[in-house]
Protein backbone atom coordinates (compact mmCIF):
# COMPACT_ATOMS: atom_id res chain seq x y z
CA UNK A 1 0.00 0.00 0.00
CA UNK A 2 1.37 3.35 -1.03
CA UNK A 3 2.00 5.21 2.20
CA UNK A 4 0.35 8.58 2.71
CA UNK A 5 3.66 10.29 3.48
CA UNK A 6 4.95 9.26 0.04
CA UNK A 7 2.02 11.10 -1.54
CA UNK A 8 3.01 14.12 0.52
CA UNK A 9 6.58 13.73 -0.75
CA UNK A 10 5.28 13.74 -4.34
CA UNK A 11 3.22 16.86 -3.63
CA UNK A 12 6.19 18.60 -2.03
CA UNK A 13 8.35 17.61 -5.00
CA UNK A 14 5.81 19.14 -7.39
CA UNK A 15 5.63 22.39 -5.39
CA UNK A 16 9.42 22.52 -5.14
CA UNK A 17 9.87 22.02 -8.89
CA UNK A 18 7.37 24.79 -9.64
CA UNK A 19 9.08 27.10 -7.13
CA UNK A 20 12.54 26.37 -8.52
CA UNK A 21 11.29 26.92 -12.07
CA UNK A 22 9.79 30.33 -11.40
CA UNK A 23 12.83 31.46 -9.40
CA UNK A 24 14.94 30.38 -12.41
CA UNK A 25 17.11 28.12 -10.22
CA UNK A 26 16.02 25.10 -12.24
CA UNK A 27 16.86 26.71 -15.57
CA UNK A 28 20.34 25.14 -16.03
CA UNK A 29 18.88 21.67 -15.47
CA UNK A 30 15.97 22.40 -17.83
CA UNK A 31 18.42 23.60 -20.48
CA UNK A 32 20.49 20.46 -19.97
CA UNK A 33 17.43 18.33 -20.61
CA UNK A 34 16.59 20.38 -23.71
CA UNK A 35 20.16 20.11 -25.08
CA UNK A 36 20.00 16.35 -24.65
CA UNK A 37 16.43 15.90 -25.84
CA UNK A 38 16.37 18.17 -28.90
CA UNK A 39 18.59 16.04 -31.19
CA UNK A 40 16.73 12.85 -30.26
CA UNK A 41 13.28 14.35 -30.69
CA UNK A 42 14.38 16.06 -33.89
CA UNK A 43 15.46 12.71 -35.35
CA UNK A 44 12.19 11.09 -34.34
CA UNK A 45 10.30 13.98 -35.95
CA UNK A 46 12.31 13.66 -39.18
CA UNK A 47 11.61 9.94 -39.40
CA UNK A 48 7.93 10.52 -38.79
CA UNK A 49 7.82 13.34 -41.33
CA UNK A 50 9.59 11.21 -43.95
CA UNK A 51 7.16 8.35 -43.36
CA UNK A 52 4.30 10.77 -43.73
CA UNK A 53 5.71 12.08 -47.02
CA UNK A 54 6.34 8.55 -48.29
CA UNK A 55 2.79 7.54 -47.43
CA UNK A 56 1.38 10.56 -49.22
CA UNK A 57 3.51 9.89 -52.28
CA UNK A 58 2.47 6.25 -52.47
CA UNK A 59 -1.13 7.27 -52.82
CA UNK A 60 -0.52 9.41 -55.85
CA UNK A 61 0.04 8.23 -59.36
CA UNK A 62 3.80 8.37 -59.79
CA UNK A 63 4.11 9.99 -63.18
CA UNK A 64 1.52 12.65 -62.50
CA UNK A 65 3.03 13.29 -59.10
CA UNK A 66 6.45 13.93 -60.56
CA UNK A 67 5.10 16.30 -63.18
CA UNK A 68 2.94 18.17 -60.71
CA UNK A 69 5.74 18.38 -58.15
CA UNK A 70 8.18 19.69 -60.74
CA UNK A 71 5.70 22.30 -61.87
CA UNK A 72 4.90 23.28 -58.29
CA UNK A 73 8.59 23.72 -57.45
CA UNK A 74 9.05 25.87 -60.52
CA UNK A 75 5.92 27.87 -59.81
CA UNK A 76 7.03 28.55 -56.24
CA UNK A 77 10.47 29.62 -57.39
CA UNK A 78 9.00 31.95 -59.99
CA UNK A 79 6.43 33.34 -57.55
CA UNK A 80 9.13 34.13 -55.00
CA UNK A 81 11.30 35.76 -57.67
CA UNK A 82 8.36 37.70 -59.00
CA UNK A 83 7.39 38.93 -55.54
CA UNK A 84 10.96 40.04 -54.82
CA UNK A 85 11.24 41.83 -58.17
CA UNK A 86 7.99 43.71 -57.71
CA UNK A 87 8.97 44.75 -54.22
CA UNK A 88 12.37 45.84 -55.50
CA UNK A 89 10.77 47.77 -58.34
CA UNK A 90 8.53 49.66 -55.94
CA UNK A 91 11.36 50.38 -53.56
CA UNK A 92 13.64 51.57 -56.36
CA UNK A 93 11.02 54.08 -57.40
CA UNK A 94 10.97 55.51 -53.87
CA UNK A 95 14.79 55.61 -53.82
CA UNK A 96 14.82 57.82 -56.88
CA UNK A 97 12.30 60.12 -55.24
CA UNK A 98 14.02 60.42 -51.86
CA UNK A 99 17.68 59.87 -52.87
CA UNK A 100 18.49 57.65 -49.91
CA UNK A 101 17.91 54.10 -48.54
CA UNK A 102 19.58 50.90 -49.73
CA UNK A 103 17.65 47.89 -50.81
CA UNK A 104 18.80 45.00 -48.75
CA UNK A 105 18.36 41.60 -50.27
CA UNK A 106 20.53 39.57 -48.00
CA UNK A 107 18.78 38.68 -44.79
CA UNK A 108 20.35 37.77 -41.46
CA UNK A 109 18.97 34.39 -40.51
CA UNK A 110 19.47 31.23 -38.53
CA UNK A 111 18.51 27.74 -39.60
CA UNK A 112 16.52 25.58 -37.23
CA UNK A 113 15.11 22.07 -37.10
CA UNK A 114 11.45 21.50 -36.50
CA UNK A 115 11.33 19.14 -33.53
CA UNK A 116 7.70 18.83 -32.59
CA UNK A 117 4.17 19.98 -33.12
CA UNK A 118 1.82 21.26 -30.45
CA UNK A 119 -1.53 19.57 -30.42
CA UNK A 120 -3.24 21.19 -27.48
CA UNK A 121 -6.28 23.26 -28.29
CA UNK A 122 -5.84 22.40 -31.97
CA UNK A 123 -3.14 25.03 -32.40
CA UNK A 124 -1.26 25.27 -35.60
CA UNK A 125 2.10 25.48 -33.91
CA UNK A 126 5.49 23.89 -34.31
CA UNK A 127 8.54 23.85 -32.09
CA UNK A 128 12.08 24.50 -33.26
CA UNK A 129 15.43 23.83 -31.62
CA UNK A 130 16.58 27.44 -31.49
CA UNK A 131 15.81 29.86 -28.68
CA UNK A 132 16.86 32.96 -26.81
CA UNK A 133 20.53 31.98 -26.65
CA UNK A 134 20.59 31.88 -30.47
CA UNK A 135 19.15 35.40 -30.75
CA UNK A 136 15.58 34.34 -31.47
CA UNK A 137 12.89 36.64 -30.13
CA UNK A 138 9.12 36.91 -30.36
CA UNK A 139 7.61 38.32 -33.52
CA UNK A 140 10.35 37.26 -35.95
CA UNK A 141 9.41 35.83 -39.32
CA UNK A 142 10.00 32.18 -40.16
CA UNK A 143 10.42 31.05 -43.77
CA UNK A 144 10.84 27.78 -45.60
CA UNK A 145 13.63 26.85 -48.01
CA UNK A 146 11.97 28.85 -50.81
CA UNK A 147 11.82 32.00 -48.73
CA UNK A 148 8.05 31.79 -48.27
CA UNK A 149 6.75 32.78 -44.89
CA UNK A 150 5.45 29.88 -42.79
CA UNK A 151 4.77 31.69 -39.53
CA UNK A 152 5.90 33.91 -36.69
CA UNK A 153 7.83 33.23 -33.51
CA UNK A 154 5.22 33.18 -30.76
CA UNK A 155 7.08 32.20 -27.59
CA UNK A 156 10.74 31.73 -26.80
CA UNK A 157 12.61 29.71 -24.19
CA UNK A 158 16.37 29.49 -23.89
CA UNK A 159 16.82 26.66 -26.38
CA UNK A 160 13.45 26.11 -27.95
CA UNK A 161 10.86 28.32 -29.61
CA UNK A 162 7.26 28.02 -30.62
CA UNK A 163 6.02 29.19 -34.00
CA UNK A 164 2.42 29.97 -34.88
CA UNK A 165 1.93 28.87 -38.49
CA UNK A 166 0.33 31.35 -40.88
CA UNK A 167 -2.83 29.23 -40.92
CA UNK A 168 -3.20 29.60 -37.15
CA UNK A 169 -5.75 32.15 -35.98
CA UNK A 170 -3.14 33.39 -33.54
CA UNK A 171 -0.82 34.46 -36.37
CA UNK A 172 -1.44 37.96 -37.66
CA UNK A 173 0.90 39.56 -40.19
CA UNK A 174 0.69 43.00 -41.79
CA UNK A 175 0.47 42.21 -45.49
CA UNK A 176 0.12 43.90 -48.82
CA UNK A 177 -1.29 42.70 -52.10
CA UNK A 178 0.91 43.20 -55.12
CA UNK A 179 -1.62 45.10 -57.18
CA UNK A 180 -1.48 48.60 -58.60
CA UNK A 181 -2.35 50.27 -55.27
CA UNK A 182 -0.24 47.99 -53.04
CA UNK A 183 -3.33 47.36 -50.93
CA UNK A 184 -2.54 46.85 -47.25
CA UNK A 185 -4.37 44.61 -44.83
CA UNK A 186 -3.87 42.10 -42.04
CA UNK A 187 -3.30 38.45 -42.95
CA UNK A 188 -4.72 36.17 -40.32
CA UNK A 189 -4.85 32.39 -40.21
CA UNK A 190 -8.20 30.66 -40.36
CA UNK A 191 -9.21 27.20 -39.15
CA UNK A 192 -5.69 25.89 -39.62
CA UNK A 193 -6.32 25.65 -43.35
CA UNK A 194 -6.03 29.00 -44.98
CA UNK A 195 -5.26 32.69 -44.51
CA UNK A 196 -7.78 35.51 -44.53
CA UNK A 197 -6.71 39.03 -45.34
CA UNK A 198 -8.85 41.52 -43.47
CA UNK A 199 -9.26 45.28 -43.20
CA UNK A 200 -9.07 45.87 -46.95
CA UNK A 201 -10.86 49.08 -47.92
CA UNK A 202 -13.94 48.61 -50.11
CA UNK A 203 -12.61 50.92 -52.79
CA UNK A 204 -9.61 48.67 -53.51
CA UNK A 205 -9.73 46.40 -56.51
CA UNK A 206 -8.34 42.97 -55.67
CA UNK A 207 -7.58 40.48 -58.41
CA UNK A 208 -7.71 36.74 -57.88
CA UNK A 209 -4.24 35.27 -58.25
CA UNK A 210 -2.41 38.36 -57.01
CA UNK A 211 0.56 37.78 -54.72
CA UNK A 212 0.24 38.63 -51.04
CA UNK A 213 3.47 39.59 -49.31
CA UNK A 214 4.52 40.81 -45.89
CA UNK A 215 4.35 44.56 -45.43
CA UNK A 216 7.11 44.90 -42.84
CA UNK A 217 5.11 47.24 -40.65
CA UNK A 218 6.58 46.38 -37.26
CA UNK A 219 10.19 46.17 -38.31
CA UNK A 220 10.65 42.59 -37.16
CA UNK A 221 9.29 40.95 -40.31
CA UNK A 222 11.06 41.96 -43.53
CA UNK A 223 9.02 43.29 -46.40
CA UNK A 224 8.27 41.30 -49.49
CA UNK A 225 8.12 37.80 -48.02
CA UNK A 226 5.60 35.81 -50.01
CA UNK A 227 2.60 34.65 -48.03
CA UNK A 228 0.37 33.28 -50.75
CA UNK A 229 -1.97 34.10 -53.60
CA UNK A 230 -5.45 35.58 -53.48
CA UNK A 231 -7.95 32.78 -54.01
CA UNK A 232 -11.30 34.51 -53.53
CA UNK A 233 -12.47 38.02 -52.69
CA UNK A 234 -15.39 38.60 -50.33
CA UNK A 235 -16.91 41.98 -51.01
CA UNK A 236 -20.15 43.11 -49.45
CA UNK A 237 -21.19 46.69 -50.11
CA UNK A 238 -22.89 46.82 -46.70
CA UNK A 239 -19.60 46.20 -44.94
CA UNK A 240 -16.86 48.72 -44.24
CA UNK A 241 -14.09 46.35 -45.24
CA UNK A 242 -13.69 43.64 -47.81
CA UNK A 243 -11.74 40.44 -47.22
CA UNK A 244 -9.68 38.10 -49.34
CA UNK A 245 -9.00 34.41 -48.87
CA UNK A 246 -5.33 33.76 -49.42
CA UNK A 247 -4.02 30.35 -50.29
CA UNK A 248 -0.67 29.89 -48.56
CA UNK A 249 2.00 28.63 -50.91
CA UNK A 250 4.33 27.18 -48.31
CA UNK A 251 3.94 23.47 -47.59
CA UNK A 252 3.10 23.53 -43.90
CA UNK A 253 2.71 19.77 -43.50
CA UNK A 254 6.25 18.66 -44.26
CA UNK A 255 8.35 21.27 -42.50
CA UNK A 256 11.57 19.87 -41.12
CA UNK A 257 14.05 22.74 -41.57
CA UNK A 258 13.14 26.41 -41.45
CA UNK A 259 14.93 29.75 -41.25
CA UNK A 260 14.30 32.45 -38.71
CA UNK A 261 14.90 35.90 -40.21
CA UNK A 262 16.43 38.60 -38.07
CA UNK A 263 15.57 42.25 -38.71
Amino acid sequence: MFKRNKKIIILVAVMLLIFLHFTKILRPIENLFLIGLNPVISNFYSVSSNLKSAYVEQNDKRDLTKIVKRLEEENKRISVENAKLKTLESENRKLRQHLRFLVENNYNYTLANVVSRENFNDEQSILIDKGRVHGVEEGLAVVDSYGMIVGKIAEVKDRISKIHLITSDKCKIAASIQNRNRTIGVAEGELGLTVRMKLIPQIENIEVGANVVSFGFDGKIPRGLLIGKVKTVEKDSNEVWQEAIVEPLANLRDLTIISVLFP
Partner: protein, 178 residues
Protein backbone atom coordinates in the same frame (compact mmCIF):
# COMPACT_ATOMS: atom_id res chain seq x y z
CA UNK B 1 18.33 -0.24 -6.91
CA UNK B 2 20.26 2.56 -8.63
CA UNK B 3 20.29 0.54 -11.84
CA UNK B 4 16.52 0.21 -11.60
CA UNK B 5 16.10 3.95 -11.16
CA UNK B 6 18.51 4.67 -14.03
CA UNK B 7 16.73 2.16 -16.28
CA UNK B 8 13.34 3.68 -15.48
CA UNK B 9 14.71 7.16 -16.16
CA UNK B 10 16.08 6.16 -19.58
CA UNK B 11 12.80 4.46 -20.46
CA UNK B 12 10.81 7.49 -19.35
CA UNK B 13 12.93 9.93 -21.36
CA UNK B 14 12.88 7.67 -24.45
CA UNK B 15 9.13 7.37 -24.34
CA UNK B 16 8.76 11.12 -23.96
CA UNK B 17 11.12 11.73 -26.92
CA UNK B 18 9.10 9.28 -29.02
CA UNK B 19 5.83 10.99 -28.10
CA UNK B 20 7.16 14.53 -28.61
CA UNK B 21 9.03 13.76 -31.85
CA UNK B 22 7.65 10.81 -33.74
CA UNK B 23 4.01 10.93 -32.70
CA UNK B 24 3.63 14.70 -33.02
CA UNK B 25 5.09 14.55 -36.55
CA UNK B 26 2.68 11.85 -37.68
CA UNK B 27 -0.23 12.49 -39.95
CA UNK B 28 -3.97 12.00 -39.78
CA UNK B 29 -5.21 10.72 -36.41
CA UNK B 30 -1.93 9.11 -35.40
CA UNK B 31 -0.73 12.37 -33.93
CA UNK B 32 -3.59 12.04 -31.41
CA UNK B 33 -1.91 9.04 -29.82
CA UNK B 34 -0.99 9.66 -26.20
CA UNK B 35 1.59 7.03 -25.29
CA UNK B 36 2.37 8.73 -21.99
CA UNK B 37 -1.17 8.44 -20.64
CA UNK B 38 -1.68 4.88 -21.81
CA UNK B 39 1.67 3.74 -20.41
CA UNK B 40 0.87 5.43 -17.08
CA UNK B 41 -2.34 3.40 -16.85
CA UNK B 42 -0.50 0.18 -17.60
CA UNK B 43 2.13 0.98 -14.98
CA UNK B 44 -0.57 1.80 -12.43
CA UNK B 45 -2.42 -1.48 -12.99
CA UNK B 46 0.59 -3.75 -13.39
CA UNK B 47 3.31 -2.20 -11.22
CA UNK B 48 1.41 -0.26 -8.59
CA UNK B 49 0.63 3.31 -7.68
CA UNK B 50 4.04 4.29 -6.34
CA UNK B 51 5.80 3.68 -9.63
CA UNK B 52 2.91 5.29 -11.51
CA UNK B 53 3.17 8.45 -9.40
CA UNK B 54 6.92 8.79 -10.01
CA UNK B 55 6.46 8.21 -13.73
CA UNK B 56 3.64 10.79 -13.75
CA UNK B 57 5.99 13.23 -12.05
CA UNK B 58 8.73 12.52 -14.62
CA UNK B 59 6.39 12.89 -17.59
CA UNK B 60 4.86 16.01 -16.10
CA UNK B 61 8.27 17.62 -15.62
CA UNK B 62 9.42 16.83 -19.17
CA UNK B 63 6.15 18.03 -20.68
CA UNK B 64 6.32 21.27 -18.73
CA UNK B 65 9.91 22.11 -19.64
CA UNK B 66 9.53 21.15 -23.28
CA UNK B 67 6.19 22.61 -24.24
CA UNK B 68 4.89 26.12 -23.79
CA UNK B 69 2.10 25.47 -21.31
CA UNK B 70 2.20 27.10 -17.91
CA UNK B 71 4.88 25.33 -15.90
CA UNK B 72 3.40 23.06 -13.30
CA UNK B 73 0.22 22.21 -15.18
CA UNK B 74 1.32 18.75 -16.26
CA UNK B 75 3.13 18.28 -12.95
CA UNK B 76 -0.21 18.67 -11.18
CA UNK B 77 -2.59 17.09 -13.65
CA UNK B 78 -0.74 13.84 -14.34
CA UNK B 79 -0.30 12.70 -10.70
CA UNK B 80 -3.88 13.80 -10.01
CA UNK B 81 -5.00 11.71 -12.95
CA UNK B 82 -3.12 8.71 -11.54
CA UNK B 83 -4.80 9.28 -8.17
CA UNK B 84 -8.26 9.26 -9.74
CA UNK B 85 -7.42 6.20 -11.84
CA UNK B 86 -6.19 4.45 -8.69
CA UNK B 87 -9.46 5.29 -6.94
CA UNK B 88 -11.46 3.85 -9.86
CA UNK B 89 -9.29 0.75 -9.97
CA UNK B 90 -9.56 0.09 -6.24
CA UNK B 91 -13.30 0.69 -5.93
CA UNK B 92 -14.96 -0.09 -9.25
CA UNK B 93 -12.62 -1.92 -11.61
CA UNK B 94 -11.07 -4.68 -9.60
CA UNK B 95 -9.68 -7.01 -12.23
CA UNK B 96 -7.05 -6.65 -14.94
CA UNK B 97 -9.26 -7.30 -17.94
CA UNK B 98 -9.11 -5.36 -21.18
CA UNK B 99 -12.31 -3.56 -20.17
CA UNK B 100 -10.56 -2.23 -17.06
CA UNK B 101 -7.73 -0.83 -19.12
CA UNK B 102 -10.06 0.69 -21.68
CA UNK B 103 -12.21 2.29 -18.99
CA UNK B 104 -9.18 3.73 -17.21
CA UNK B 105 -7.74 5.07 -20.46
CA UNK B 106 -11.09 6.65 -21.26
CA UNK B 107 -11.37 8.39 -17.88
CA UNK B 108 -7.74 9.45 -17.95
CA UNK B 109 -8.00 10.96 -21.42
CA UNK B 110 -11.17 12.81 -20.57
CA UNK B 111 -9.75 14.07 -17.30
CA UNK B 112 -6.46 15.18 -18.87
CA UNK B 113 -8.00 16.98 -21.84
CA UNK B 114 -10.84 18.58 -19.93
CA UNK B 115 -8.53 19.66 -17.07
CA UNK B 116 -6.43 21.56 -19.57
CA UNK B 117 -9.41 23.12 -21.29
CA UNK B 118 -10.94 24.12 -17.96
CA UNK B 119 -7.70 25.63 -16.71
CA UNK B 120 -7.18 27.74 -19.80
CA UNK B 121 -10.82 28.76 -19.86
CA UNK B 122 -10.59 29.94 -16.25
CA UNK B 123 -7.28 31.67 -16.94
CA UNK B 124 -8.74 33.54 -19.91
CA UNK B 125 -11.63 34.69 -17.69
CA UNK B 126 -9.26 36.06 -15.05
CA UNK B 127 -6.31 37.25 -17.10
CA UNK B 128 -7.48 39.59 -19.88
CA UNK B 129 -4.18 39.46 -21.75
CA UNK B 130 -4.51 35.72 -22.18
CA UNK B 131 -6.81 34.75 -25.01
CA UNK B 132 -8.43 31.33 -25.17
CA UNK B 133 -11.23 30.29 -27.45
CA UNK B 134 -13.02 27.00 -27.09
CA UNK B 135 -14.36 25.43 -30.25
CA UNK B 136 -16.83 22.61 -30.69
CA UNK B 137 -14.54 20.79 -33.07
CA UNK B 138 -12.17 20.30 -30.14
CA UNK B 139 -14.90 18.24 -28.45
CA UNK B 140 -15.17 16.15 -31.59
CA UNK B 141 -11.41 15.72 -31.65
CA UNK B 142 -11.32 14.65 -27.99
CA UNK B 143 -14.31 12.34 -28.02
CA UNK B 144 -13.89 10.73 -31.38
CA UNK B 145 -10.36 10.95 -32.62
CA UNK B 146 -8.25 10.81 -29.46
CA UNK B 147 -10.33 8.22 -27.61
CA UNK B 148 -10.62 5.95 -30.63
CA UNK B 149 -6.94 5.96 -31.48
CA UNK B 150 -5.82 5.54 -27.86
CA UNK B 151 -8.25 2.66 -27.42
CA UNK B 152 -6.52 0.98 -30.35
CA UNK B 153 -3.16 1.58 -28.70
CA UNK B 154 -4.43 0.12 -25.41
CA UNK B 155 -5.68 -2.98 -27.21
CA UNK B 156 -2.36 -3.36 -29.00
CA UNK B 157 -0.28 -3.07 -25.83
CA UNK B 158 -2.65 -5.30 -23.82
CA UNK B 159 -2.64 -8.16 -26.30
CA UNK B 160 1.08 -7.80 -26.96
CA UNK B 161 1.76 -8.14 -23.24
CA UNK B 162 -0.59 -11.13 -23.15
CA UNK B 163 1.32 -12.72 -25.97
CA UNK B 164 4.69 -12.13 -24.30
CA UNK B 165 3.70 -13.04 -20.76
CA UNK B 166 0.92 -15.44 -19.85
CA UNK B 167 0.38 -13.54 -16.60
CA UNK B 168 -1.21 -10.75 -18.62
CA UNK B 169 -3.22 -12.95 -20.96
CA UNK B 170 -6.50 -11.38 -21.92
CA UNK B 171 -9.59 -12.01 -19.86
CA UNK B 172 -13.07 -11.31 -21.09
CA UNK B 173 -16.00 -10.84 -18.78
CA UNK B 174 -18.20 -13.17 -20.77
CA UNK B 175 -15.98 -16.26 -20.81
CA UNK B 176 -16.50 -18.64 -18.00
CA UNK B 177 -14.86 -22.03 -17.68
CA UNK B 178 -17.09 -24.76 -16.37
Amino acid sequence: MYFKVFFNLILLISLFAFQAGFVSGSSFIFNDLNFLLVILIFILVLSGEEKAFWWALGFGFLLDIYYFNIFGLNLFILPLMVLIAKFLLANFLTNKSIYTFLTLVLFSLLFYELAFLLFYYLLSSVETSFYFEFELRQIFKIFVSKIFVNFLLTLLIFYSLGFINKQFSSVTLSSREK
